[in-house]
């Protein structure tokens, strides 16, 4: 899918101005607080995190317990979201599903951050073979749909949450690398880098002490878009049947299980709940990401 991270409006190929740190952050946070949509999204995401934490210790029913209610039971007081085809409580499963989605989103973002930033910095600062390999890989990977690569990788690695994360990370880390490389390329030509070099600073110090902090804004904004992209890809994968093994609840898989009942016009809720939750969560991440960008990248201000 054309993920949000391929959206050129959030690419920073041109140079950004090295700004004064303290006021940048304070300024940005102030702007973020003023953006009500982004704030609402942040509140929702915090709630989601709380639900996720709670679900580790407590759910109304055991999420995998069969027979807590009748199969295909419609929403009722005892089971506010109804039950699925095996008589499992949908609310409990929806809550537990948060874990998979957030785990995929955050873990992928971390891997992408780590790998993408390091590779990008090295490629951008030192150029040379790393840069050549990176641009080659980028070219090849931009020639194929990432979801299909993820499917192939997933099938090769076998089922499992970790493998899903690896498969997704492998298909989207290059965007981060490319972004960081662009930042590094432009920042390394700036005067204060010249100055640091003249002052005898080692390469490591220059890259991580000077270039990275100055490129951090766009990188963080980009990372917030990696999270929904990863959650979305994971949902696509498990909707196609390449998800975490059952009976672990995850939203894409739950939606997939609910599709036959929806098609029969029999019980739309099994599909509806995970689909809506997934959509709202992705929406929230995107609103929040937009807010961050507006706040921390003045170039993109409305």
């Amino acid at each position: 899918m054309a993920t949000a991270i391929q959206d050129p409006t959030i690419e920073y190929a041109g140079g950004t101005v090295a700004r004064e740190q303290v006021s940048l952050w304070r300024d940005g946070l102030r702007r973020l607080r003023r953006n009500r949509l982004a704030l609402a999204a942040a509140v929702y995401l915090m709630l989601l995190a709380v639900v996720c934490l709670i679900s580790v210790f407590w759910t109304p029913y055991k999420p995998n317990a069969i027979g807590t209610c009748a199969t295909y039971e419609l929403p009722s007081a005892g089971h506010p979201l109804g039950c699925d085809d095996l008589g499992r409580d949908s609310l409990s499963r929806l809550m537990v599903g948060t874990q998979v989605s957030l785990a995929v989103g955050l873990a992928t973002a971390s891997i992408v951050l780590l790998v993408g930033v390091v590779v990008g910095l090295v490629a951008g600062y030192f150029r040379g073979p790393v840069d050549a390999v990176l641009s080659l890989l980028t070219n090849v990977f931009y020639g194929v749909p990432p979801l299909l690569v993820a499917v192939a990788l997933y099938v090769l690695l076998g089922p499992g949450l970790i493998n899903i994360i690896i498969a997704i990370s492998a298909t989207i880390w290059m965007d981060m690398a490319r972004l960081t490389r662009g930042q590094a390329l432009s920042i390394r030509e700036r005067e204060f880098i010249e100055a640091a070099k003249a002052g005898g600073a080692r390469a490591g110090k220059i890259v991580f002490g000077h270039i990275l902090p100055n490129a951090l804004g766009p990188i963080i904004v980009q990372a917030t878009f990696v999270i929904p992209a990863a959650i979305l890809t994971a949902a696509f994968l498990s909707f196609l049947g390449f998800g975490v093994p059952p009976p672990t609840a995850d939203w894409g898989g739950m939606a997939n299980e609910g599709l036959p009942s929806l098609q029969g016009g029999f019980d739309p809720y099994i599909l509806l709940w995970p689909a809506l939750t997934l959509s709202i969560t992705l929406l929230a991440f995107n609103f929040f990401g937009d807010g961050l960008r507006d706040a921390f990248d003045p170039r993109q201000k409305r």
């Binding site: 069969i66 059952p246 098609q263």
Partner: protein
């Protein structure tokens, strides 16, 4: 997916259909005399699995054989009640009509003389020799149906070893070579036990007596089916996917009442009736239009069926099964509720313990009291009736309580006759505490299964049952890829696995030989690693006797298996068909869907 269950396919022989009745065609009567026929006799339905191959020498999938049973004929076939009746032969050989010699080793088969292939060729004994020798040499999935014929092994050996050269020989040259050999009557590909004294007689000599062979040879669309040599030779590789022009060479030429007039892979097929067909009943339908759809399209297809675009939904076996929500949808619609037809199928699903692979198996391996006790604990912890209720909603399956062989077939033990079908949580728990007091043995157990259909909910159900009743957490190990699952099973890489069988022909040998027998063990297909000399010797004896005397021995095998607790019986499959009421003669039995030449469309 091609393989939704491990094994499937067609059924046979005399059996009383248990349970629900269905539309049964007036067999033997020509339906063309019926009044009130619609002007247009075109049958339309979707199937949900593309043809793998229609070549009877290789065909493996139920949907394929249920289509080609209308194109090819065998020497005998099964009528709608699974009785064995003559097809290309004049009668069913028995010892009393001198068709079978008193030692059971020689079968003399007389052939009908008015039979013609679609290309105009007359059918004769040569065609039987060609088709059966070809079937043996191709080594397809059902080649073993011919394995009792003298000389079978030699033909397989001569035709079969992969050439040692590492040059890509390619499919063309292998099949071309085989056709060349068969064409030149090369003795290396001729089973010595198969001879033709004259144009209308075939003599079959067996290597040893065989109580099940006649039913196996009659399996439709399979190695016993008669194909046309000239047409195969026009394109040895792909002849089966080519359409037929009556009277001309080439394409999927058979002796059946229908021929294929159009074929677009993964899209559609059209079959047309053969004019002046030799057999009976004469086909009433003039054309069969089959759409090949993805299973996800079935909901739309049911809507189309209600609107009249399709006449029936569910043709082609397991892959065409209606889902529960769709069944409920049809039931809830007063116009169509009575057009939903339920038919138990000869297909059983159970769980196999890995009992014979110590290096890869778990705590269930072997015959020790602990291993057996743990197997029993896991079996007793599953409430089979509740499983059928929860997973199948008592609509798509029934609890398997009468042994591995399904109700209605020869070898069914009787309701609740299987001791492993019992549910006793207390006993299960006490067995577990007795044999695994620390819980160490049953930690990190895995249940492996191939995904799709009922397999996923069944896996979740089992996991929940063991958790609830034994307090044991079993991990699920799904394979979205059936071939990977089968490969793992064949090499013993599992602890507990989903298992199942859909019978091919109505004979206990089809179950006991293929699943735990010495034949399976020798072929490396004994997936559970079960190996018991008593079992093998009883099986060998039983296989050589007529079913009347063999049945008691087969039942003894069932007892050995349940005494050893090598499996947990789960459920018998039930198929649901949506068949418009104006279709006369359409339906299905435990084995297969009914022949097209029995179906007619009433005016509506």
């Amino acid at each position: 997916m091609k393989h939704l269950t491990l094994r499937f396919r067609a059924v046979q022989s005399a059996a009383i259909l248990g349970g629900i009745s269905l539309l049964v065609a007036a067999c033997g009567n020509s339906t063309s005399t019926t009044t009130g026929l619609a002007a247009k006799q075109v049958l339309k339905f979707p199937v949900y699995q593309s043809a793998g191959t229609f070549d009877p020498g290789e065909a493996d999938a139920e949907v394929d054989t249920e289509i080609t049973q209308n194109v090819f004929s065998n020497l005998w076939r099964f009528d709608d009640k699974l009785n064995l009746v003559p097809d290309l032969a004049t009668d069913v050989p028995t010892t009393s009509n001198n068709g079978i010699s008193s030692d059971g080793l020689t079968y003399t088969v007389h052939l009908k003389q008015n039979v013609k292939f679609n290309n105009g060729d007359s059918f004769s004994s040569k065609d039987v020799l060609y088709s059966w020798n070809r079937g043996a040499a191709l080594q397809g999935a059902y080649a073993s149906n011919l394995s009792a014929i003298a000389g079978f092994d030699a033909v397989q050996k001569a035709a079969g070893s992969p050439p040692s050269s590492k040059n890509s020989a390619g499919v063309t040259s292998f099949r071309q070579n085989l056709e060349n050999k068969l064409g030149s009557n090369d003795p290396s590909v001729q089973m010595s036990g198969l001879t033709a004294p004259d144009a209308n007689t075939v003599k079959i000599t067996l290597a040893h007596p065989c109580g099940w062979c006649l039913t196996a040879w009659s399996l439709q669309g399979s190695t016993g089916s008669i194909v046309n040599q000239k047409s195969v030779q026009t394109d040895p590789e792909n002849w089966w996917s080519k359409t037929v022009t009556p009277g001309q060479e080439g394409g999927m030429v058979g002796t059946g009442p229908f021929y294929m007039s159009a074929f677009t892979a993964k899209q559609s097929m059209t079959f047309k009736s053969v004019s002046n067909w030799w057999g009976s009943p004469k086909p009433t339908l003039t054309e069969i239009d089959i759409a090949i759809h993805d299973p996800s399209a079935i909901a739309g297809d049911v809507t189309a069926w209600e609107q009249g675009s399709y006449d029936l939904i569910g043709y082609g076996g397991n892959s065409s099964n209606l889902t529960y929500p769709l069944i409920q949808g049809i039931k809830g619609n007063s116009r169509f509720a009575n057009q939903l037809i339920t038919q138990p199928k000869g297909r059983t699903t159970w769980l196999s313990f890995n009992v014979g692979y110590p290096s890869t198996g778990g705590p269930f391996v072997g015959q020790s009291a602990a291993a057996k006790g743990l197997r029993m604990a896991f079996a007793l912890a599953v409430d089979k009736n509740d499983l059928a209720k929860t997973v199948c909603h008592d609509v798509q399956c029934t609890a398997a309580t009468g042994g591995l062989i399904t109700k209605g077939l020869i070898g069914y033990l009787g309701d609740n006759a299987d001791p492993l079908a019992k549910f006793d949580a207390a006993q299960a728990k006490s067995l577990l505490t007795q044999y695994d007091p620390t819980g160490k043995l049953t930690a990190n157990l895995k249940y492996s299964y191939n995904t799709g259909g009922l397999n996923d909910p069944v896996a979740s159900y089992l996991q929940n049952a063991w958790q609830t009743n034994l307090g044991v957490k079993v991990n699920l190990d799904p394979s979205s890829d059936a071939s990977q699952f089968i490969s793992n099973r064949l090499s013993g890489k599992y602890v507990m696995a989903r298992d199942g069988w859909q019978f091919d022909y109505n004979h206990p040998q089809d179950w006991y030989d293929n699943l735990w027998g010495y034949l399976a063990t020798n072929a490396g297909a004994n997936t559970s690693g079960f190996d018991d000399p008593t079992y093998d010797s009883v099986l060998k004896q039983a296989d050589q006797q007529p079913i009347s005397t063999a049945l008691a021995q087969y039942n003894q095998l069932a007892k050995i298996l349940s005494d050893d607790v090598v499996y947990i019986p789960l459920y018998y499959s039930v198929a649901n068909f949506a068949i418009r009421s104006y279709l006369k003669g359409a339906g299905s039995n435990t084995q297969a869907d009914f022949y097209w030449n029995e179906i007619s469309i009433q005016s509506h």
